[in-house]
């Protein structure tokens, strides 16, 4: 948009198209004949755009207030001593209000997990992508990726499903010893949270 002042008498200062024969008339109606945007259009547009930005920035706090608050986020790391988990055992710890499954896998369980052809899986991940540095320690979030129930299989005596990992009783999803989805409606493998080994026996989740 140019600010050509030659035509400022038309449309209160807007630019009529030079091809319009009435461009020099000092009448109000000439605005109706302008086929180029007038200064008034420009003002409308900028005011409108500023208004939209203002409205957006007022609305945003009201939407964002519903996101996790700072103290909720601050609770989002937890440290776990894994020394006491014997081979073949599993513990459940609470992290961000959800259970985290830590399983000390047996050699046989690791074997089973590695033997699977990744191409046949629904959510294609090899066992190597499922643990950090130590294959025997598997850490996954204990929330079924279908609709959020807690799968069974942590305690001795609980059903572990057809693939010897976990079984979700809600709609029948079965996970393998790597926490990968093998059967049932869940779309994804059990999520691996971000975690790190602080020492050989201590991990920090989150």
């Amino acid at each position: 948009m140019s600010s050509n002042d030659h035509h400022s008498h038309c449309c209160g200062g807007g630019n009529c198209s030079p091809s319009t024969e009435i461009k020099d008339q000092k009448t109000e109606e000439c605005c109706g004949h302008c086929d180029e945007p007038s200064r008034r259009d420009f003002l409308f547009m900028t005011a409108g755009a500023m208004g939209a930005v203002a409205a957006g920035s007022v609305v945003w706090p009201f939407i964002s207030q519903m996101n996790p608050a700072a103290d909720t986020k601050a609770l989002s790391t937890t440290e776990v001593d894994i020394a006491s988990i014997a081979e073949g055992q599993a513990v459940t710890v609470m992290w961000r209000g959800k259970p985290v499954f830590i399983r000390h896998r047996t050699a046989k369980e690791i074997e089973e997990a590695k033997a699977v052809d990744v191409a046949t899986l629904r959510d294609k991940q090899s066992d190597d992508q499922r643990f950090k540095t130590r294959p025997e320690i598997l850490v996954v979030i204990g929330v079924c990726t279908h609709l959020g129930c807690i799968p069974l299989g942590q305690k001795t005596g609980e059903v572990k499903g057809d693939y010897n990992g976990w079984f979700c009783p809600c709609h029948g999803s079965a996970y393998d010893t790597s926490g990968r989805i093998r059967k049932g409606p869940a779309p994804k493998n059990l999520e691996v949270p971000s975690y790190s080994f602080i020492s050989d026996t201590l991990i920090r989740i989150g």
Binding site: R96, G97, C149
Partner: protein, 438 residues
């Protein structure tokens, strides 16, 4: 809402107010002399009944809120406190708890009435759509209300239903965490659900107002589906229908009271008297009964939708289920545009009548299946094991076909029975035994 020309009232106070704000003129016009088709049957009671239930829910809800606290550490105990310690707290809670169920019963019958007698058709489309919006708001309100006592079903129902939104591609998880205000259903979730549970009923009041306003522009439909033509076809609303509505309401309240006083927990789930435990999922999560048909539709889609024998998937089972569930309600709103048949009432549309009654039957069976565990085995047919999921899939198919195939097809093809000239003639025909009272 101008009330047009006024006739003066005798009572000077009423007249003084009415001159300044013609509210009495309005009430008289809309609820006194309002010309109403004279052939209403008892199906026409359920609007007034639903209105009564809405008021009941608001009154008991506000009084419950005076004793409740939306904090995970105390919410469960607060409800027990209401039950044991608050004066008549048990009564308020049981009225509110069963009231939700009876509100839904009234609204389901009300919606069925509209479907059977073609009340959704022109010129009442917008009236119908407001109705579906009210139904959606009711579902949201009831869902959030059920979370408030913070029992096991509260917690896990909330978890499963909010997780539905995680099916949305890309932004799903962000949306779910936004709904939760955390990383799971927790205190922030309970707090906001209480705030919204308090708010939404008043939004419903607003939409009900629009719904009734639209009704009073077009006037009521009636069992014959014929518009009133002359004075012979109508009666003034008062005293004829004020009386009929009151009678129906009393019958309804009586049944409702039987539940409140003698079987207050019959419609609920015992697990909800166990405090919420985020570490243990109950063996069998079921929503409240009024959600069961939709829950069955959700679970019926347990397969990915894509190109067979390839890895190409348009949407995963989880998203498919969610789309089907919400779609099943959107279709109800779209009925006026799917059914273009000129005749309204199923009385004169024998084919539509059968299709609709089958539809109702399938909704009932879906409800039954929604309350059973997924994939519950039913019987062996040869080597094929028939499960509840198969039945649910079949009925879901019929549900969608009813709207998307049968309605448009019948709109073009169905030949209606001969119609009476007017409501008056329809009534006289019935009196002489020539029509069934449907």
């Amino acid at each position: 809402m101008s009330a047009g020309p006024r006739t003066p009232f005798e009572n000077p106070v009423v007249e003084w107010v009415d001159q300044r704000l013609p509210i009495f003129t309005m009430i008289n016009k809309e609820y006194g002399v309002f010309p109403t088709p004279k052939n209403f049957n008892y199906f026409w009671n359920f609007g007034a009944i639903a209105m009564f239930m809405l008021v009941t829910m608001i009154v008991t809800g506000i009084t419950l809120a005076m004793h409740y606290a939306a904090d995970t550490t105390v919410a469960f105990d607060k409800v027990e406190h209401i039950m044991r310690d608050v004066n008549y707290g048990w009564l308020l809670r049981y009225i509110h708890m069963n009231g939700a169920s009876f509100f839904f019963i009234a609204v389901f019958v009300h919606i069925f009435r509209g479907m059977y007698y073609g009340s959704y058709k022109a010129p009442r489309e917008l009236l119908w759509i407001f109705g579906v919006i009210i139904f959606l708001l009711m579902m949201a309100t009831a869902f959030m209300g059920y979370v408030l006592p913070w029992g096991q079903m509260s917690f896990w129902g909330a978890t499963v239903i909010t997780n539905l939104f995680s099916a949305i591609p890309v932004v799903g998880t962000t949306i779910v965490e936004w709904l939760w205000g955390g990383f799971s259903v927790d205190n922030p979730t309970l707090n906001r659900f209480f705030a919204l549970h308090y708010l939404l009923p008043f939004v419903i009041v607003g939409v009900v107002f629009l719904h009734v306003w639209a009704l009073h522009v077009t006037g009521s439909n009636n069992p014959s589906g014929i518009e009133p033509k002359t004075e012979k076809d109508t009666l003034p609303f008062h005293p004829y229908y004020t009386m009929k509505d009151s009678f129906g309401l009393v019958v309804f309240i009586t049944i409702y009271a039987v539940f409140v006083f003698f079987m207050p927990n019959a419609l609920g789930h015992p697990d909800n008297y166990t405090p919420a435990n985020p570490m243990v999922t109950p063996a069998h999560i079921v929503p409240e009964w009024y959600f069961l048909p939709f829950y069955a539709i959700l679970r019926a889609i347990n397969f990915d939708v894509g190109i067979p024998f390839t890895d190409i998937v348009f949407f995963e089972a989880k998203l498919g289920g969610v789309l089907a569930m919400f779609g099943s309600i959107v279709l109800v709103a779209l009925m006026p545009f799917l059914d273009k048949h000129p005749v309204r009432s199923a009385r004169y549309r024998p084919k539509y009548r059968i299709a609709l009654l089958l539809f109702v039957l399938s909704v009932f069976v879906l409800g039954k299946i929604g309350g059973m565990p997924a994939d519950a085995p039913l019987m062996h047919i040869g080597s094929f094991l028939l499960t509840t999921t198969h039945i649910a899939q079949l009925l879901t198919l019929y549900y969608f076909a009813f709207f998307l195939v049968i309605l448009p097809y019948l709109s073009k093809r169905e030949k209606a029975l001969p119609m009476p000239e007017s409501i008056n003639d329809a009534v006289l025909q019935c009196k002489s035994g020539k029509c069934c009272e449907a």
